[in-house]
């Protein structure tokens, strides 16, 4: 590619991109794509991530003061804000501080140090699972997740912060991406952990339609959104659908049927079975009712199409189980 030649010519003129959540699978895929044409800075709250040569890596909590030092030491042109603490990783208060206050801090620093592009990795979960959801929710649909579970309040508030900055500070060029369920090797979100297990709880009589996307395709989507820079809010999802219970079987898992009515029953089971995030209560409604998003706007705006089919995605989980016995 000609980019490497161009790089040698104007090495100093490469843009610098800061990536949060660098220890996660999505960030790793994104960094692999950025590395070369851009300078990359890796940030994670969990650990100092081992990176390729030439990628500075920091272990820092973004809501703490130390985060600003990175901006003092480097001229940051763009931020990929991917890092989040998931409900299975920490308690609500700590998550709120890191996810919400951290995002606030990140956006403040972006303004102070004149960063001119910010990509926010959100989630389709913000729409909230409800029996009254129409299918193909567009970007203007209300975000009802905080009414569904307190464990997603932070996700909704991150969105609202990003939204305020999106219209108030257009110079930040904020793009908010709301992907459907991300799966693939190394993905450690709740659903991916669940489908990696041999036995997976399902609610009797409920199998909502879901959408899945390979982490590789999401990394491509983020790169397109970054390089074409068209600020706004976008759902990111393929035009393909499958009910939850069928996805469970397609991943080679055995379904563990959980009584679903009255609604108190699954909650009791969830608190009994939630050892090691086996059956997370905050996803109960998502195992019952659909959140089907319309990814058309993103697909058309950025001319993006996922390369992996549903079967490709599930094949990884099937094979993983065959290997482990």
């Amino acid at each position: 590619m000609t980019t490497s030649m161009a790089n040698k010519k104007n090495l100093d003129q490469r843009k610098t991109v800061l990536v949060t959540g660098a220890a996660g699978a999505l960030a790793r895929h994104v960094m692999a794509r950025l590395h070369g044409p851009y300078r990359v800075i890796a940030v994670d709250f969990r650990r100092q991530v081992e990176t390729d040569a030439g990628i500075p890596s920091y272990r820092v909590e973004i809501h703490k003061r130390g985060f600003e030092d990175i901006f003092r030491d480097h001229r940051v042109d763009a931020i990929f804000h991917i890092g989040r603490i998931f409900p299975h990783e920490s308690d609500r208060a700590r998550r709120y501080n890191s996810n919400v206050m951290g995002t606030r801090k990140l956006l403040d620093l972006a303004r102070k140090y004149k960063v001119n592009q910010v990509l926010i990795h959100s989630t389709h979960l913000v729409y909230g699972a409800s029996p009254y959801n129409p299918a193909l929710l567009d970007e203007e649909s209300p975000l009802k997740a905080s009414g569904v579970t307190q464990d997603l309040i932070d996700s909704v508030e991150v969105e609202s912060l990003a939204n305020i900055h999106l219209w108030k500070y257009p110079e930040l060029n904020i793009t908010i991406l709301r992907p459907c369920n991300l799966l693939g090797p190394g993905v450690r979100n709740t659903l991916s952990l669940l489908l990696s297990r041999p036995l997976v709880p399902v609610l009797i009589g409920f199998s909502p339609i879901m959408q899945f996307m390979h982490v590789d395709d999401m990394a491509d989507a983020m790169m397109q959104a970054f390089e074409q820079n068209k600020p706004g809010i976008y759902n990111v999802a393929p035009d393909d659908y499958i009910p939850y219970q069928e996805a469970v079987r397609a991943c080679g898992c055995s379904p563990l049927p959980i009584p679903s009515v009255p609604a108190i029953l699954p909650r009791i089971w969830s608190s009994l079975l939630n050892w090691n995030a086996f059956f997370p209560a905050y996803l109960l409604n998502y195992f019952k009712y659909p959140v089907v998003i319309d990814g058309r706007l993103f697909r058309d705006t950025f001319n993006w199409k996922p390369r992996r089919s549903l079967n490709d995605i599930f094949a990884y989980y099937r094979k993983q189980k065959q290997i482990s016995g």
């Binding site: 129409p134 299918a135 009797i204 009589g205 659908y241 499958i242 009910p243 009515v261």
Partner: protein
Amino acid sequence: MRLAGTLERSSMSIRRNLARRLVTEEVEQMVARVPKHVGSFGYDAWGYDESRVKLGAGLSKHLYERYFRVRAHGLENIPAQGRVLIIGNHSGQLPMDGILVGYALLSNPHAPRAARVMFERFLPTVPYLGNLLNNLGGVIGDPLNCARMLQAEEAIIVFPEGVRGSGKPYSKRYQLQRFGNGFVHLAMAHATPIIPVGIVGCEETMPSLGNIKPLAKLLGIPYAPLVPSLIPLPARVSLHFGKPIRISAEACTEQGVTERVDQVRNAISDLIDEGLTQRESKYF
């Protein structure tokens, strides 16, 4: 875990047996002819499931041809493709009319269509039933769902009377109840032709003496009819599809919309009258 596995295996074998008996070659071909886009696992965004539709079609075929001995008139009025709203009168406590109109569309020799039906909002909260209805093409009656489906060039069956029509007692048979205005708003916004359908015979499938309100409230359902049998009676049913009605897309007041609704309502009323005059026998 072993128990769950055994249960699943036995329910799978029951399903396979049922599938073999219901999904005949004819039904397979019927569904295969339908112009309908589905994803890699055979589903669409609303949960339409090709394999379940085949099962449903196999079962409905028996209901349609043998049990209710349906006669359909004017099937040639249904467009072969493109968005369309099928608007009919609702009756008979259970949504048998929806099933029969749906099967008439699917088995239409002129141009088969996969019918979508809008249903009550409480249904998705009922285990199995909500998913099953989704699989067969139903969705909750949310205007957004309807709009999206019209954009996707689907054929949608709507009963604008809703529970006012289906839950009414036998003494009010073939008297059209108040129509909601929603379908005309959708037809106007999405330039959609309307096919009126008069349904005769479904009133006789479950004649109700009245609504047991306390029971309905207890069960959390819209009505609990006082009926001789909870199984629909084998009344003869006839469907009368009318010519397409094109609603003007020009903006107007709600009063104006109501007038356009009445235009459709009158067409359905005429089709019902036609069916009632032609009817020779209610049950035999």
